[in-house]
């Protein structure tokens, strides 16, 4: 269970969006799990709250699907960490998922905005 956060503005991630966010984050280059979590929170201006347990299972799932590859390395502050990077297949998926998402959000906007 995610610990309840003080900020009420945070929204739990929609099903399936986490994968897309992970892929998007990794476009900038390889990163470890904690970095990905931080990056998602920061880029969404602290709106999204990432449950870390789910994040790591999602990373594992994407790795199993060969969208990501992972290897152990050393972080900028000299800590051992498992770094994830996008595979070619992951990149393809990102393009596809992103366009799907844009179509969905445009449709939502049309309905909600009218």
């Amino acid at each position: 269970m995610p610990t309840q956060n003080e900020s009420e503005d945070r929204i739990a991630l929609l099903q399936g969006t986490l994968d897309l966010l992970i892929l998007k984050t990794l476009v900038m280059g390889p990163c470890h799990g904690q970095g990905i979590a931080r990056s998602i929170q920061r880029q969404s201006e602290q709106v999204f709250f990432v449950d870390h347990g789910s994040l790591y299972l999602a990373l594992q799932r994407l790795e199993d699907k060969k969208w990501l590859s992972a290897k152990w390395g050393v972080s900028e502050n000299n800590r051992k960490a498992r770094f994830y990077s996008l595979t070619a297949k992951g990149r393809e998926q990102l393009v596809q998922k992103a366009s799907e998402w844009q179509r969905l959000s445009r449709a939502m906007e049309l309905i909600l905005g009218s």
């Binding site: 904690q34 449950d51 870390h52 347990g53 972080s75 960490a81």
Partner: protein
């Protein structure tokens, strides 16, 4: 799918790394070391839950549970090693006997014969009043072939012992003569060289022969250049034209090294020596073909009344001819092995039941702690499967050994006549059979304890004191199992008893001769060297003289054919001066010297034996011939004629010598003086000795070898060996021994089962017995209590067993000789034996119960 890409440890490390990185960052944001770490952990959420989710996702949970179950099962078995060993051994014993016997059944009955469409092949015989499976003559073969409308092809063969000329003189070799289309009818092609061509059997073409694969390897070292080479058989030069395939076998003519062409020279309709083999035309049924060939034979009877009277056609599927003799034996053995397996399985199942009883508490605790019914059931299935797997692997190893041992027990000659046994082994069929048995066993062993727990309430199991339901259940399962076991043991024992008795009767059949102390050897002299009657007579005389001179020899005789073989060499005859009445008279004919009957010590009923010189044409007949054709008359002085110009005077009547197999009915036989027609350069010499006859064999052969080194001497054997190794003896002996072996194992298992049930029941009733004794029950009464229960079970087993035994024995009838299926002595004997052994087995627990100390017994819980 079962392989994990990433260990849980690695996942754990990653979470730790995350927490460290997060703490670093928080510290950088100004938090204290301690606070940073706390916040990092708090923001991660439940790390343990994530770990678990990862673990469950990554690993095949099901498989994991099975491994757990398996570990647990192994631990359980190791904890109770005695139980595990007993169960595995009993199971392996039961499985191995069934699998080994099935391998024989598979090789003999299941596997198709090595021919094209073997079920369209039939074998043809001429049926005469003496029996249905006799030979046909060459002209009859040609007419059958020409006149039938039902066979695509019809060919003939005859087993034929050749005398092969070698650098060391003549050597007896096994062979066969076949008509030119024989192999095409079977659908067999040589692997080397060519088949016989149509018309190769004409007298003017050169003689040719094919080699069996084994002979090619053994005699010629698999030399491919052998094609075209000559070989001298029976004084004629044959050219080797081909080699038959390795898997080819044709047991009616086997053993055979040379398969040579049968020359179409014989025009004699009365000369029988051939068997027919034919392939049915497409769409023609067996019945229609049989009717057609019968009509052909009847037509010939009308056309040639002299030679063909009472010569009918007889036909059998080829498969039945090849495996017909061994089939009933195999079926009996397989049933025996199956029954043994049944007892073994029941024994193991009841062992499991007893163990399950003692594990009620464990199951109840696991159930109470939340193990699902499914999970508990799977635990039992795992244990059953584990037990069966170990038992089956051991059983297969034992079956392999068993098969090997069983083939060693078959005499060499018999094995040669059963070439289909060459394919014996743990092949696909056999493994499939073993697998099916193992699955059935595993199911039984898993279901037995489950059946017990399905009805059991968990709460009830936790309160160990409540026994009522368990003991009724136990009584229902365990007791019934013992009754089945005892009944099965009884069936096997009765079968063994009957087969054993038949075997004894067979060995003690009145063969009409005293088989002890007789040594025999076959002789074949070169036909070019002994080409005149005088020369052949001189040779026979010299053989008799030299053998007589050997130390210890009391009597010497010569015959053209030994007793206890087949009843071949028959001839039809007439009684001069009496009307023929259209009755076909046919008897066995043997040419013997004056010493023959003394050597065999036959019994003279009337008249006299042959003198050394018989000036007149005379004959000695046996009792059956005398009774059959001269009922109520004195045969001495009567005449019979095998050819109408030379009637023979009957000078003596002797008891029946068993000419055919031991279990054959007595037949008429006539014996004529050897020296009145010495046109044989092959004969058998017999010597009665005062010494050990088997040690005599070598000196007998050596002496005869000295006489003429070019002479073939073969099949040296004692008369006792002849009787013991005869095919009919072998079939009876092997079935008797094997079934006896199964029966003894069944007896042991059945009695152990009974002991187990009674001992267990006593242990469950310890408290009750204590109460009874405390209330004043005598020890005798306690004995009675236990023995009554055992006696009741035994009685039920015996009664059911008795009924089943009679049923089983009736189906055994074909293998019985001189004993009825409902042989009272055997049935009573077995019942007494089984009853006595059962009572002894139950006396032990009864004694234990009676010597209980009531105060101790009351305290047991």
């Amino acid at each position: 799918m079962f392989k994990r890409r990433r260990s849980t440890q690695d996942f754990d490390d990653e979470i730790k790394a995350h927490l460290a990185l997060e703490a670093d960052e928080l510290r950088r944001e100004g938090l204290t070391e301690e606070e940073a770490y706390r916040r990092a952990r708090a923001s991660f959420g439940n790390a343990q839950a994530a770990r678990e989710r990862f673990y469950l996702k990554g690993r095949m949970e099901w498989l994991d549970n099975r491994i757990q179950d398996l570990r647990f099962a192994l631990r359980q078995l190791r904890k109770d090693l005695g139980f595990a060993l007993t169960a595995v051994l009993i199971l392996a014993l039961g499985l191995s006997s069934s699998v080994a016997i099935f391998a024989f059944v598979d090789a003999a009955l299941v596997k198709p014969l090595p021919y094209q469409e073997p079920n369209r092949l039939v074998m043809l015989f001429e049926s005469i009043p003496l029996g249905p499976r006799f030979h046909l003559s060459y002209p009859d073969y040609l007419d059958w072939k020409r006149q039938n409308t039902v066979f695509r092809s019809l060919d003939v063969f005859e087993p034929f012992g050749f005398m092969m000329k070698t650098s060391d003189g003549l050597r007896q070799t096994d062979g066969a003569r076949v008509s030119s289309g024989f192999f095409r009818t079977l659908g067999v092609k040589p692997v080397l060289g060519r088949d016989f061509y149509d018309g190769e059997d004409k007298p003017e073409t050169p003689r040719t022969t094919l080699l069996s694969y084994a002979a090619w390897q053994r005699r010629y070292g698999s030399d491919p250049k052998i094609i075209g080479q000559p070989v001298v058989l029976d004084g004629d030069t044959y050219t080797i034209v081909g080699v038959l395939p390795r898997e080819f076998s044709f047991s009616p003519a086997e053993p055979a090294d040379f398969w040579s062409i049968l020359k179409a020279t014989s025009t004699c309709r009365g000369c029988h020596g051939l068997y027919g083999v034919a392939r049915l035309k497409d769409g023609v049924t067996f019945g229609a073909a049989f009717a057609n060939i019968k009509a052909v034979a009847e037509n010939l009877e009308k056309m040639y009344p002299d030679s063909n009277r009472d010569q009918k056609a007889y036909m059998l599927p080829l498969a039945e001819v090849i495996t017909g003799d061994i089939r009933p034996v195999l079926v009996v053995m397989l049933s025996g092995a199956g029954l043994l397996l049944l007892i073994a399985a029941i024994n193991v199942a009841s062992l499991l039941l007893v163990r399950a009883e003692s594990r009620r508490r464990e199951v109840a605790v696991r159930g109470a702690l939340g193990a699902s019914q499914r999970r508990l059931a799977l635990q039992f299935i795992t244990e059953g499967v584990l037990l069966t797997t170990i038992g089956s692997v051991l059983g297969l190893a034992m079956a392999q050994q068993g098969m090997h041992m069983l083939t060693l027990l078959i005499p060499k000659d018999m094995l040669a006549a059963m070439p289909f046994l060459r394919g014996l082994g743990l092949n696909g069929h056999v493994l499939l059979f073993a697998g099916a048995l193992a699955i059935a066993a595993a199911a039984l062993f898993a279901l037995t304890p489950m059946a017990l727990f399905r009805v059991m309430d968990i709460r009830e199991g936790l309160t160990e004191g409540s026994r009522s339901s368990s003991s009724t259940l136990w009584r229902r399962f365990g007791a019934n199992m013992v009754v089945v076991e005892l009944a099965t043991a009884m069936v096997l024992l009765v079968g063994a008893g009957l087969l054993g008795k038949s075997f004894y009767k067979l060995l003690h059949t009145d063969t009409g001769l005293q088989s002890d102390h007789i040594a025999t050897v076959h002789i074949q002299a070169e036909s070019e060297k002994y080409n005149k009657d005088e020369l052949r007579a001189a040779l026979a005389h010299e053989v008799e003289r030299r053998v007589q001179a050997l130390p210890g020899v009391q009597a010497v005789g010569i015959t053209t054919k030994l007793p206890i073989e087949d009843a071949d060499w028959t001839s039809s005859f007439t009684i001069p001066g009496r009307p023929d009445n259209d009755v076909h008279k046919e008897v066995a004919v043997r040419y013997v010297t004056s010493g023959y009957m003394n050597t065999l010590k036959t019994r003279l009923i009337s008249g006299r034996y042959f003198a050394a010189e018989e000036p007149a044409k005379v004959v000695i007949v046996n009792q059956t011939l005398a009774k059959q054709y001269f009922p109520g008359e004195d045969v001495i002085g009567k005449r019979i004629a095998f050819d109408s110009k030379n009637p023979l005077l009957i000078i003596g009547a002797i008891n029946d010598i068993q000419e055919g197999q031991l279990d054959a009915k007595p037949r008429g036989a006539a014996y004529m003086p050897f020296y009145q027609s010495p046109y044989f350069n092959g004969f058998v010499v017999l010597a009665r000795t005062s010494q050990d006859e088997s040690s005599m064999l070598s000196s007998l052969t050596a002496t005869l070898h000295d006489l003429d080194k070019g002479m073939a001497l073969y099949n040296p054997m004692t008369m006792e060996q002849k009787i013991h190794d005869a095919p009919s003896t072998y079939l009876h002996r092997s079935s008797a021994w094997l079934v006896a072996g199964f029966a003894l194992m069944a007896l042991a298992l059945g009695v152990v089962g009974l002991y187990g049930v009674i001992a267990y029941s006593v242990s469950r009733r310890t408290r009750e017995i204590g109460v009874r004794m405390a209330l004043g029950a005598q020890r005798r009464a306690v004995y009675g209590l236990v023995l009554r229960q055992a006696g009741w079970l035994t009685l039920c087993g015996l009664v059911i067993g008795l009924v089943c035994s009679i049923g089983a024995a009736v189906s055994l009838q074909k293998l019985l000789y001189g004993v009825q299926a409902w042989d009272a002595i055997t049935l009573a004997g077995v019942a007494v034996l089984l009853g006595a052994v059962s009572m002894v087995a139950s006396c032990l627990p009864a004694h234990r119960a009676a010597s209980l100390n009531p105060t101790d017994a009351l305290r047991t819980e």
